[in-house]
């Protein structure tokens, strides 16, 4: 049996190893009384008991967990939630069926919302639904979670989470889920690593026995080989020693051991990633991915929606620089109705800026929204997958045109500086040829294109190494070009958060690193130990 690598989104930081508990949902059946009055009374009694259960739980927990349960209690106590169910019961529908249908409709409303935060509330409604169903005798059986285990499943409800003991390790690996879910907040508060969005978890044969969860990188390895496990355990030991030191200094600006100031920026995939974060922990935002705006379920986002989101992020930054990357679709990020299907090698196909230039009607909307947002803060715009100067020039001309058009319409706008993501070796080799306002090195793609090895293909993953001298040389050349032209160079790939690479990256002359929010504290601590 070979190990299985899966990657998703980091929802709660930290590393964990443990036996796998697969969450299953088995639906028990209830026999209806057939009498609307009795069914009505049964539902009322079940809701009352569910409210009482919730009150019992509230009495046992504190802080964030109590807030979440109070929200559930308030929803349960509100007659508006069961209105539809009572209506259905009055015309002969069984209590459990009526309740399930009413709640499923409510849940569907949340799941389809544009805002990730509201989407994440669907899990709370599932929790409410199942707690009442349990009292109606039609519940989904809750799996027993043994302490210290890695809980794998589609999604997990707050009550299942709160029903387990997280004081002795354990972690969560979900096929669906969201970093904005209540469970993710609870997991962060309790220090349980969590990864969401792994995609369907199906096993050929028995489910895996053991899993390694990396809540920093957002990856999970099921049934690891002994050597993989040994390396992971070593990382866990190092991480726990470093954590205590790091947390103390997360609000301090980062300096190397010999006093060189290093700016630490954030990478975010959605504004929700900033919820609860103090902007004082960073020097700005180095990468805002905009793909989330283009999720297939919503169609292409209009200018107003994009503007509102960009502005929200700039407002959060309170004057700190914010670099927003234009749509980087294609490659491993297909978008229905936009990217090309069936390319023989999507990573070498119509992706990033190539796609934006091929679809100017979509690109223009994003450029307009960015020009409008630029008046609200220190905005920079970054173009992904640039290979030749002509691409930057064409995008720059489009930006100028949209800026001029907005001005002519009397709409408040500013022309943000336009920089390039350096991730194609051709751009790294000839960075000085580009009239870019800044360079941001995308180390993930730069590494895979330089080494001709994908990191999600296990057999060649060892070649996918940003620490390879060839990749480091391209980074150093880009830094040198930036110095010669007097523009900023930053690095925003996963390598920035890989502390084993920190000395090598700083040795190239880089002074700006951009990482996921969870990695800020330990990166600052690692920088402080480097003499460079």
């Amino acid at each position: 049996m070979s190990e299985i690598h899966r990657s998703g989104r980091a929802a709660s930081p930290g590393l964990a190893i443990g036996p796998v508990t697969v969450l299953t949902s088995a639906v028990a059946r209830r026999t209806t009384t057939g009498d609307p009055a009795e069914e009505d009374a049964a539902l009322r009694a079940a809701i009352e008991r569910a409210v009482a259960d919730t009150a019992d739980l509230i009495a046992r927990v504190q802080g964030e967990a109590a807030d979440i349960l109070e929200f559930q209690a308030a929803m349960l106590e509100d007659d508006a939630l069961a209105e539809g169910a009572y209506d259905a019961i009055s015309v002969g529908v069984a209590a459990d069926h009526a309740w399930r249908s009413a709640l499923d409709a409510e849940i569907a409303g949340y799941r389809s919302d544009e805002d990730e935060y509201f989407r994440a509330r669907a899990t709370d409604l599932v929790d409410i639904r199942d707690r009442v169903l349990a009292h109606l005798g039609g519940a989904d059986k809750a799996a027993k979670i043994t302490e210290g285990s890695i809980v794998a499943g589609d999604d997990i409800s707050p009550s299942v989470f709160l029903g387990a003991d997280w004081t002795r390790g354990g972690a969560i690996a979900l096929a669906a889920g969201s970093p904005a879910s209540h469970v993710a907040m609870l997991a962060r508060a309790r220090g349980a690593p969590m990864v969401v969005g792994l995609g369907p978890l199906s096993w050929n044969g028995p489910p895996p026995a053991l899993a390694l969860v990396d809540g920093d990188a957002g990856t999970v390895i099921f049934d690891p080989e002994p050597e993989t496990r040994r390396q992971f355990e070593h990382r866990m030991a190092v991480a726990s020693a470093a954590r205590a030191i790091a947390d103390a200094g997360r609000f301090d600006p980062a300096h190397t051991a010999n006093g060189r100031r290093i700016a630490v920026l954030l990478n975010i995939a959605a504004p929700e990633d900033l919820a609860g974060l103090d902007p004082a922990i960073c020097d700005g935002i180095g990468l805002v991915r905009t793909e989330f705006l283009f999720e297939a379920s919503h169609g292409l986002p209009d200018e107003e929606r994009q503007y509102a989101v960009y502005r929200r992020i700039l407002d959060w930054a309170q004057g700190r620089p914010v670099t927003i990357r234009t749509l980087d679709a294609g490659g491993d990020k297909p978008i229905g109705g936009l990217t090309i299907r069936g390319e023989s090698n999507p990573f070498l196909g119509l992706r990033g800026i190539r796609l934006s230039l091929a679809r100017p009607e979509v690109f223009r909307v994003q450029l307009r929204a960015l020009c409008r947002a630029a008046v609200h803060g220190d905005l920079k715009v970054m173009l992904p997958m640039i290979a030749v100067p002509a691409e930057l020039e064409r995008a720059g001309a489009m930006l100028d045109a949209e800026f001029a058009a907005l001005g002519a319409e009397g709409i408040a706008c500013a022309r943000p500086p336009l920089g390039i993501m350096v991730e194609v070796p051709a751009a790294a080799l000839r960075a000085a040829d580009f009239d870019a306002a800044f360079y941001s090195i995308g180390s993930n793609d730069l590494t895979q294109y330089t080494m001709a090895a994908a990191r999600d293909i296990g057999a060649v993953a060892d070649l996918n190494d940003t620490g390879n001298p060839a990749v480091l040389e391209l980074i150093a050349r880009t830094v040198e070009s930036g110095r010669a032209r007097g523009v900023e160079v930053s690095l925003c790939g996963d390598a920035a958060a890989d502390l084993r690479l920190t000395p090598a990256l700083l040795a190239t002359g880089l002074t700006v690193l951009s990482v996921a929010p969870v990695a800020v504290a330990r990166l600052k601590a690692a920088i402080a130990t480097v003499n460079s």
Partner: protein, 104 residues
């Protein structure tokens, strides 16, 4: 800045109207919804909210209905209040929203 343009009415049958901008980070989500409905329930007045001055109006005492509004950060919340203690009720809900529901 929150804009609150409460219009005064001498008769309780005339609704009091005001609007305020949602300033807390993730909008009218779970905790703020609960706080808002708890605050509203403390008054006898009928308190409704909407994302537009033209409605549709939502009962501000129902957390289920308030959550269905899914008001994002930066949205302008309009309130319409009718009843004897309407002025105090309006002042209380406006203060709560303006204060970001006490969230940091």
């Amino acid at each position: 800045m929150p804009d609150a343009n409460a219009s005064r009415a001498t008769e309780s049958s005339v609704p009091l109207m005001a609007s305020v901008v949602l300033v807390n980070p993730v909008g009218l989500h779970a905790r703020p919804s609960v706080k808002l409905t708890q605050c509203a329930k403390g008054f006898a007045a009928r308190i409704e909210l909407a994302l537009s001055a033209e409605g549709p109006w939502t009962d501000a005492k129902s957390p289920v209905k308030v959550m269905r509004v899914k008001a994002p950060q930066g949205a302008t919340l309009h309130f319409r209040v009718t009843g004897a203690d309407g002025e105090a009720a309006l002042a209380a809900v406006l203060a709560l929203v303006r204060d970001g529901f006490g969230e940091s």
